[in-house]
């Protein structure tokens, strides 16, 4: 498997990357970890005229908690998974990073790439939907913050303009009595999800669910939110009945297709099951458990 020829440019800083992108006429692709793009290029399913390597841009791989969580787009999955802030305060992100592809891929792959590639089978999109995150883009017209709900337009298609790069992901600070979890079912370790479910819940003082948000992996043209399921949970005690209703709602609003990862009907049912399990785990974490 040999990729077609292309030009290669190293972006020295964000402005340089934007300039290179803007002057490419839409024929360039941004190269970060390359773990999704390079396989496509080796199949010659993707044949970009040039690659703009942004991995040498300084300052895009930090993790800061500054009122909100700011994750540099270039942080590698392996570093994300091991990061102390992430592990202690955002275990759902650690859950997610830990199941992206395999450990070797995670040593290269970046969170920014996982989101910007906008593969509905990627894991971070659902988690970021559940976390109500936003994405920071920089382009020739400056910086803008894109709410995650507006980011994924279609398969492989995001709201990023042709001259924009994703530089940061922002996640709201976890509220008191909140917790989240990401669960993924895969055919074998390292595979894309058959189904993935990200759930974040906030409990009120009585232990009822004050708010829930749920993202689903690989059951639609993009990662999708299970809004009806979120609605079903609001104000409910997190008992089996409420979870079952949420699971059923999430299953109903998922849009899986039949493929080598199973029939659509099966995937819908797994959405139902994993939604309940993810909520259960999120509730446990909201109560201070693991």
């Amino acid at each position: 498997m040999i990729p077609a020829s292309f030009e290669y440019e190293v972006a020295t800083d964000v402005a340089h990357a934007i300039q290179l992108l803007a002057s490419s006429g839409g024929e360039a692709k941004v190269l970060a970890g390359g773990q999704s793009l390079i396989p496509l290029m080796k199949f010659r399913l993707a044949q970009p005229a040039s690659l703009i390597d942004i991995t040498r841009i300084a300052g895009l791989s930090g993790i800061r908690e500054n009122g909100e969580l700011q994750i540099g787009a270039l942080i590698r999955e392996a570093d994300l998974e091991k990061n102390a802030i992430i592990r202690q305060r955002y275990p759902i992100i650690a859950d997610t990073a830990a199941v992206v592809a395999d450990p070797l891929v995670r040593n290269m792959a970046t969170i920014g790439g996982n989101l910007a590639h906008a593969d509905p089978a990627n894991d971070h999109p659902a988690t970021m939907l559940a976390l109500r995150a936003s994405v920071v883009a920089q382009g020739s017209k400056g910086e803008r913050v894109i709410p995650i709900d507006d980011f994924f337009l279609d398969t492989f298609t995001t709201a990023l303009r042709p001259d924009e790069i994703l530089v940061e992901i922002r996640v709201p600070k976890p509220a008191a009595r909140s917790g989240g979890a990401y669960l993924k079912l895969e055919r074998k370790v390292g595979d894309f999800a058959i189904v993935g479910v990200a759930a974040v819940v906030r409990l009120d003082e009585s232990g009822k669910i004050a708010a829930a948000s749920i993202g689903l992996t690989n059951v639609g043209l993009t990662a999708i939110r299970a809004r009806n399921a979120e609605e079903k949970l609001r104000g409910q005690a997190p008992d089996d009945k409420a979870l079952a209703a949420a699971g059923a709602a999430a299953a109903a609003e998922s849009q899986p297709v039949s493929d080598l990862r199973g029939p659509a009907e099966y995937k819908r049912d797994v959405v139902r099951v994993l939604t309940q399990r993810a909520i259960r785990k999120a509730v446990a974490r909201a109560k201070g458990g693991n």
Binding site: P3, F6, G34, L51, P103, L104, G190
Partner: protein, 180 residues
């Protein structure tokens, strides 16, 4: 010591890129075509054939090398991306005629059969043990879940890595057996 190798040709008109890369401690300055995969750079440009190609889809890990100490799949990496970086391959494991504990482990615990996945497995293990010197069996299994082996059923690979972990933790007791 810098080793100069002949510039790679490109017949497709692509600009060549001069990269500086340290492989197993030796510096190389080489002109490469942007699309040259790291695994081909190592095997073809540098003649280091210990790193293998098994799948082309980032699935099997036969091509695993260490990039600045981290295990990565060299078939999913362009050589231009490793400019200024340090690469470690299987050829660099043995130092001064002494086997690396991971090599010893694979031999002692029968962790290899056809040997094709072995270099990638060992490099993954070396990268992993640097971050987790005292792993459990499950952690070892997770760590090698990006490396496929068709011969061994993994049981003895897990034992081999555990052998190396123990050996690396107790360097004083170590004495490399002769396998020549």
């Amino acid at each position: 010591m810098a080793v100069e190798t002949a510039p790679a040709k490109t017949t497709t008109g692509q600009k060549l890129h001069r990269i500086h890369v340290v492989v197993n401690g030796a510096a190389h300055d080489v002109d490469v075509e942007p699309r040259t995969l790291l695994v081909h750079f190592l095997r073809e440009n540098l003649g280091m054939t210990g790193t293998h190609i098994g799948c082309d889809t980032t699935s099997c890990g036969a091509c695993t090398v260490l990039l600045n100490g981290r295990a990565v799949k060299s078939c999913t990496l362009f050589a231009v991306q490793v400019d200024q970086a340090s690469i470690a391959t299987v050829e660099g494991l043995e130092k001064d005629g002494k086997l690396h504990p991971i090599q010893e482990g694979f031999h002692q615990e029968h962790g290899l059969q056809c040997g094709f996945c072995t270099p990638g497995m060992m490099m993954t293990a070396v990268g992993f043990l640097a971050t987790n010197p005292a792993p459990t069996e499950l952690q070892i299994r997770e760590a090698i879940s990006g490396n496929l082996c068709r011969c061994t059923g993994y049981v003895n690979i897990v034992k081999s890595i555990d052998y190396a972990a123990r050996k690396l933790r107790e360097p004083a007791e170590g004495k490399a057996p002769d396998v020549r």
